[in-house]
Structure formats: structure tokens, C-alpha cells
């Protein structure tokens, strides 16, 4: 396994469209990094630059101290797992997994042992004689992972590997990938647009938007201390509620609601007196209380929790209450807020 350094990576296509801007990341040995962001944010492009499938317009890519920026993909010792599996339909699972080693002209007995070991890890031993068409989506993705594992590469790259699976299978395969990472202790770069995958899998998350890195941090850091409005809105499900308002006389005041700031918030927002800010409140941080009255528009029971959608004045809010509720449209619920985040309205950066 290996350390990976991405230094000032840029990707500019021939038509002068820039997909990635100044991407910097140091990946420690055995670390699982998840690149997350909406479609078109440059996360897959970054991954493909690491794999060598896209030229790097500027910057350096270093594995274990060796500059591999211009090295051909086959020499990089990197294995990639694709969203669409990319399996050979006419080959059996065994042949698919062995193929890359056969191309390298490795000893057949060694190949056999590596394939069996990978199949054992992935629970594919009973499927080795089957063709991909006879397998479920999850099994096919495991074969694709097995094909990467047998190579024992320095770095594993996953490009949205679970996107083609249904919700149940996605959860199961996600757990398998996590177990696989713990077992192999491999350096992995994982691309997804699904924040649940990012939060559950990652040692660290790289959140991207429009080709720029918005924040790099642990899942908890991104959840608890988002750098800006984009990260705050992207991480968390349901997404954070945003309320535009002003800081006035120790209170956050918006046209629809206002609440008193505690001492820490007053200190934090001292420089923003009478200035416009955006308050961000996660649905799970809205509790029953007396700060405002939420007029219910929709009640969604999720078992242990209930999503209550409603309005405070004209401000739409979603609350995630930790109980079973049966509110009807038009009911009024007293609410209060905790862990409120504040963002500069102009820069969209978090106020810290």
C-alpha cells in the first residue's frame, strides 16, 4: 500500500473548460478518502487523473515519493473499480478476476491462489465458474472489486461503484467495502455523490463543487463544522435549513422568526452586529420548544423519527423529531433550535 499526494492538480480540457482547480490532497497509507459532490463537480475527473485515464493539465501526482504524473496507467500500480463493473461477459468470474494477472504473465499457480484468496474475502468462491450474466448486481460489483484485489495495487480507486445497485444492495455492498478496507488496510480513493456513502465509509471526505475543493475533513468535521453554505447544504439528510437574517441586539432576527443568541454566539458574531448572516439549522437540531411556532404542512413518519415539514411565517423549515408524531396539516408545533451554524451572507463562509 502507499501514500498518495495530489499537488495543485488542474484539469483543463481542449475546449478550455476547466473541470478541476488547484486540487491538493495528501492521502496517508491505508486511508480511505471519499470525494463527494454533485454531478459535474470534478470528482470523477480527479479520480481519472489519478488513474491515468485523463491527462493532468498542471500539478503533480506522487505515490510513495515517486512522481507518476506522466506515467502510463498500466505502470502506475493502481486498480480502479467502475460504476458499470466493466466485466468481460464471455469470461467466468474466475477468468475475469485472473485476467489482469494473466496479461502480466504471472505464474498460473500464483494467479490461482490470488484469485481464490480474493474470492474467499468477497464471498465469491461458489460463483467462480459463473458468467457475469448469471450474477446479481452486487455480485458483479464484488467481482469487479476482486479483480482489483488480486493485483494487490498500491492504491484502489472506486468510481461510484454502488450507483447501479438498488437501495438494499447498496447498503449491503457499502458495508462489504468498509469491511474490505479494514481487512486490506489499503489506500483507497472513493468517488460518490451519495453523502451517506461518504459519511459511513470515509476516514476523510473531500467535498467538491464546480471543480473546487470546498472542504477536506473527517465526516464529523464536515457535519459539525461545515466550511461554507455549500458543504452545510450538501452534508446531512434531510439538508440543513437556512434562514437569512441580521444580528441585532444579541438576537438573530429574520422577517419570519427571531431567537436570542447565547454568550458564545454573541462573541462569535460580535463583528456582524447589524449585518446580514445566514443561520443554518439541521433538522435534527430543531426540538420542541418555545422559540417559534411551526405550522405543519407535511408529516413523514420514519419509525424512530418523524420529519415534520412546515413554515414559520413564510420561512420553510424541516424538523426531524425523535419521536413518532401524527401531526395534521395546519397543526402548530412550538420549536426551539440548538447547534445553530452561522454563515457570512456575502462570502458564504462559515463564521468561526
Amino acid at each position: 500500500m502507499a501514500e498518495l499526494k495530489l499537488q495543485h492538480l488542474d484539469k483543463i480540457y481542449d475546449n478550455n473548460v476547466q473541470a478541476v482547480y488547484d486540487f491538493n490532497l495528501d492521502v496517508a497509507d491505508g486511508e480511505l478518502i471519499v470525494l463527494v459532490g454533485p454531478s459535474g463537480c470534478g470528482k470523477s475527473t480527479t479520480l481519472r487523473m489519478v488513474a491515468g485515464l485523463e491527462d493532468i493539465s498542471a500539478g503533480r501526482l506522487i505515490i510513495d515519493g515517486k512522481d507518476i504524473t506522466t506515467m502510463p496507467p498500466k505502470d502506475r500500480d493502481i486498480a480502479m473499480v467502475f460504476q458499470n463493473y466493466a466485466l468481460y461477459a464471455h469470461m467466468t468470474v474466475y477468468e475475469n478476476m485472473a485476467f489482469s494477472l494473466v496479461l502480466r504473465k504471472e505464474n498460473k499457480n500464483v494467479i490461482h491462489q490470488k484469485v481464490l484468496a480474493a474470492a474467499e474475502i468477497l464471498g465469491l468462491t461458489d460463483q467462480l465458474n459463473k458468467k457475469p450474466a448469471q450474477l446479481s448486481g452486487g455480485q458483479r460489483q464484488r467481482v469487479a472489486m476482486g479483480r482489483a484485489i488480486v493485483r494487490t495495487p498500491k492504491v484502489f480507486l472506486f468510481d461510484e461503484p454502488l450507483s447501479n445497485l438498488d437501495a438494499k444492495l447498496r447498503g449491503a455492498t457499502r458495508r462489504e467495502i468498509l469491511l474490505l478496507h479494514k481487512r486490506l488496510k489499503a489506500t483507497m480513493l472513493y468517488v460518490t455523490h451519495d453523502q451517506t456513502e461518504a459519511l459511513t465509509l470515509a476516514d476523510r471526505i473531500v467535498c467538491m463543487s464546480m471543480g473546487h475543493v470546498q472542504q477536506i475533513g473527517t465526516p464529523l468535521e464536515l457535519y459539525d463544522m461545515p466550511n461554507n453554505l455549500f458543504v452545510a447544504s450538501f452534508i446531512g439528510l434531510p439538508p440543513m435549513n437556512f434562514i437569512e437574517g441580521r444580528i441585532k441586539d444579541g438576537r438573530f432576527v429574520s422577517p419570519n422568526l427571531s431567537f436570542a443568541l447565547d454568550d458564545a454566539q454573541k462573541t462569535l458574531l460580535a463583528a456582524y452586529s447589524d449585518k446580514e448572516v445566514v443561520a443554518g439549522i439541521r433538522p435534527e437540531h430543531i426540538l420542541k420548544g418555545n422559540d417559534a411556532v411551526l405550522k405543519v404542512t407535511l408529516n413523514e413518519n420514519l419509525g424512530q423519527t418523524t420529519l415534520v415539514h412546515g413554515t414559520v411565517g413564510k420561512q420553510k423549515l424541516t424538523a426531524k423529531l425523535r419521536e413518532w408524531c401524527d401531526y395534521e396539516r395546519g397543526d402548530e408545533v412550538g420549536i426551539t433550535f440548538e447547534n445553530v451554524h452561522f454563515f457570512d451572507k456575502e462570502t458564504t463562509n462559515a463564521i468561526r
Binding site: T92, N109, H112, Q113, V115, L128
Partner: protein, 160 residues
């Protein structure tokens, strides 16, 4: 696992490429054989029921041997035996058209000669022999591998 066991274990997941390849080579040399015959310029000598049967046999041969080439991939015993039988038939074919043609004297362009000249005769005999060799060898290899695999599988069942 020692080397020998790994080799045997590998057979559970890999094809018998040797036998399969030999079967395809047998087809190739059979094609050489019948092309050599059909290209003969000896008037109407070959226009007989025998050549009609030969054409039909060649078609059946190619179909059967192609099926065998697929069948033996999975170490199937019956396909291996079929290959050996067809291989023996290939040898027997040497003594039908080639032998008859090489001993028949014709008048071609005012000149008396054998319907099949010695050089051509040698060529077709070689083609049929090589085709037969590949079939018989492929069949024998198939049977040996089949037996090895079956006995290995039995040991796996016993140790399971």
C-alpha cells in the same frame, strides 16, 4: 497446497484449452485435406456419389468436432471419447478416396496418370494423419484430465 494440488485445483475453474485447441486444429487440417481434393483438375473423376458422401461427412465432421472442442473445455468424458472415435475415422479415410484416387489411372490431356499424383497423395495423407493425431491426442488428454479432476473432486468431498 503443493504445486500438484494447485494444478489440479485450477482445473475446477479453468478450461481444458489443450484438448479444445487440438480439436480446432483437427478441423483446420481437415479443411486443408478437402481443399486439396476439391482443387484437383482431373476432369469428372471425382464427380461421383463418393465425393457427395465425402462433402456431407466433412460438414458433419466440422460440426461434431466443433461441438467437441466446446464440450472438452469442461473436461467432459463423452466428448473426449467422441474425439478419439472421430480421430480413428480420420485415419480410415486415408484408405478411401486418397487410396482409390492414387491407384486409379486416368487419361488427362492425352496423358495417362494417376487421378491423385504421389505428391498430392502424400499431402492429403499428412493432412488426414495430423487431423487424426490432434483428435486422438486431444481426446486422450481430455480423458486423462477428466479422470484426474474427478478423483480430485472426490478427495475434496471426502475432506469437506
Amino acid at each position: 497446497m503443493d504445486e500438484k494440488t494447485i494444478r489440479l485445483d485450477r482445473m475446477r475453474y479453468t478450461n481444458n484449452g489443450t484438448s479444445s485447441g487440438f480439436a480446432l486444429l483437427a478441423i483446420l487440417f481437415n479443411v486443408f485435406y478437402f481443399v486439396s481434393i476439391y482443387r484437383s483438375d482431373v476432369g469428372t473423376y471425382y464427380y461421383s456419389w463418393l465425393i457427395g458422401l465425402s462433402i456431407i461427412y466433412n460438414l458433419v465432421f466440422m460440426l461434431v468436432v466443433f461441438l467437441c472442442s466446446e464440450g472438452v473445455k469442461s473436461y467432459n468424458f463423452n466428448y473426449s471419447v467422441t474425439m478419439i472415435v472421430v480421430g480413428v475415422l480420420q485415419i480410415s479415410r486415408i484408405f478411401i478416396i486418397p487410396l482409390k484416387a492414387s491407384t486409379t489411372i486416368l487419361k488427362v490431356n492425352e496423358e495417362e496418370r494417376a487421378a491423385m499424383l504421389p505428391a498430392q497423395h502424400l499431402r492429403v495423407v499428412i493432412f488426414l494423419s495430423v487431423s487424426a493425431f490432434f483428435l486422438i491426442a486431444g481426446g486422450i488428454i481430455g480423458i486423462i484430465k477428466h479422470n484426474k479432476l474427478e478423483s480430485y473432486k472426490k478427495t475434496l468431498v471426502k475432506t469437506a
